[in-house]
Point group: C2
Chain length 402, copies 2
Amino acid sequence: MNQPIPPNFQPLADARSVGVVQAQRMRFDEALPLRSGASISGYELVYETYGTLNAARTNAVLICHALNASHHVAGVYADDPGNTGWWDNMVGPGKPVDTERFFVIGVNNLGSCFGSTGPMSPNPATGRPYGPDFPVLTVEDWVHAQARLADRLGIERFAGVMGGSLGGMQALAWACLYPQRVAHCVAIASAPKLSTQNIAFNEVARRAIITDPDFHGGRFYDHDVVPKRGLQVARMIGHITYLSDDVMAEKFGRTLRRHSSDAALRSEYQFTYDIEFEIESYLRYQGEKFSSYFDANTYLLITRALDYFDPALAHDGDLARALAQATADFLVVSFTTDWRFSPERSREIVEALLVNGRRVTYAEVDAPHGHDAFLLEDPQYMAVVRSWFGRIADAVAQTEAV
Amino acid sequence: MNQPIPPNFQPLADARSVGVVQAQRMRFDEALPLRSGASISGYELVYETYGTLNAARTNAVLICHALNASHHVAGVYADDPGNTGWWDNMVGPGKPVDTERFFVIGVNNLGSCFGSTGPMSPNPATGRPYGPDFPVLTVEDWVHAQARLADRLGIERFAGVMGGSLGGMQALAWACLYPQRVAHCVAIASAPKLSTQNIAFNEVARRAIITDPDFHGGRFYDHDVVPKRGLQVARMIGHITYLSDDVMAEKFGRTLRRHSSDAALRSEYQFTYDIEFEIESYLRYQGEKFSSYFDANTYLLITRALDYFDPALAHDGDLARALAQATADFLVVSFTTDWRFSPERSREIVEALLVNGRRVTYAEVDAPHGHDAFLLEDPQYMAVVRSWFGRIADAVAQTEAV
């Protein structure tokens, strides 16, 4: 506690970014059976690729995204140069996942609001947005949908499947559901299932959305409104759990938010229920920004997929048995100050893999930033991932040379 | 982590309760100047007393309440025998704070919704409820109001001032503001100020209330509605922070809520955004119950008083200097699994008192229940308080005998 927080790590120079990228779109007409018993057909997945698939098709890496991210992993768009991919510090030429050696795929999950078919898309049965009629999805459903995309792209086996947080859960599910298709699996700041407290936070966020009068039972599109208030509260709760107690204290402390240049006034309370502390201003800003672009039904869908993920459930709670089919080599990374998905949760994954005799690299990174650390450029974290993928790239190159 | 949680402690037998009690009411016409610069006049405080004030008036103990409690500390009401005081396990004949030896006062704070003047009370200026015009209050304002009540009751000096959580902050403020009037000070599961994360959770709760369309800028009384949705979300957030991660896991786990007697069905997901897990059912129930009786303006007022409490602020952040005036003997208690007001925060208080050469007893109780532990009957906790007050009672008796 109270350890000094290093300054924010600067993103690497633009020159090393993948540069201008373009999202692509793939349509799937064949029905995808879902874990709930429902199915979905005529859906589309949006994705991006970076780097070049080698002739042997052995250098593909799939990046799975978390709650608030998308297929836009790296680079920028020609018509939106400020919109940099969410893992641009991780994926690019010369970066830890080196696009000069790997063919990297970012895919937007089914049910998302960033281009793939989701609750905002027209329901073929009615011609109106799915809304609440969009099926409830699970991590496993996403993986099956991603596998179909891999089929279309001609990738039989991934050199790596990788993700942070909810993305790490997808990587784990890939290793279990398609063991022959995953050579290496990377789960960062993840967990084998949500804790009761995790579910509780998700539930409060969902209640804030569902009870917002502008939600209209999920049919708010028809009313030309958005449940902004609920989304704001949901995002504020999320943000508190993404940051460590310490980094929040370091960044905002109990500093009062004052526009005045009068020092005396700046240190006085205003006795108001409006913004008084910097942290309040920050959270409201984050909430408002989020509510301007994120779909409320997608928020419900993704948090529920998180709640439901529990591969050990079908094995009497025995995670080792649940992971027995997985044959990949694993890299598991956690961050000491992550209280959302604590190192303890990552260690559960590691232990279950070791019981099965798997090769596992585990890094517990002493980073101050909480859960958000998986998106930031901690040098130790970056070095671990770089070294791990470097080894994979060497092995891939050797196989090709044979 | 994952330590076994002992069964809930049973309340002591009814025979040892203070029995039937009656709330009393005191009116104050003289204006009370507030820290904000505003003042309030013509207000009332509701309170209860248990035990008998001795002739020397040296055996009075003041109990300060936290967010959701009131003056109803112990016993039951004749017309509401199910409504037991919130600290009935702590205060009563033969209990740790023994009403056969002490004269105990429970007081409802100004701004509360349980009888003392608050936002629901008529504003003398308009004849309508104060609503948002009720002044913003601080912990120090409460203490000054309580001191006036003590004056009226003829208590010059308290044998003890005691509270848990926000109540502990009031006890601390008493010791600083009225050092001659506090012989012993008890701060349980408390903190010298809120952390940034604490403020953040309060802010989310307030936003949920304020953005509820039924809040009407705090004038919902005029519209005959209550911002139930906001209050529910606020209470759900609160509950998550009151419980330890472990006790939540132990009590609810990932258990599915099923009415079916069909075992197979009970272990299957229903793929719904409605209640799926027991924890969701619990939180919704708590939220709904709370929203049926708690005033939304009071919730804002009390959480803001929490935010503002920071005795070190006027001393360049130096808590030792802030507590320098306090001359009481102190008992400070914290609970290992309390992540809302962690033991570390209590240790800050202890250290600042020791710098000033005060006599401090500090107990860090290994209890699994999180912040809620201060309301429960952990045997070690009860024993510490019992022994501490036993010593005080003996000293009081000796002085009387002289």
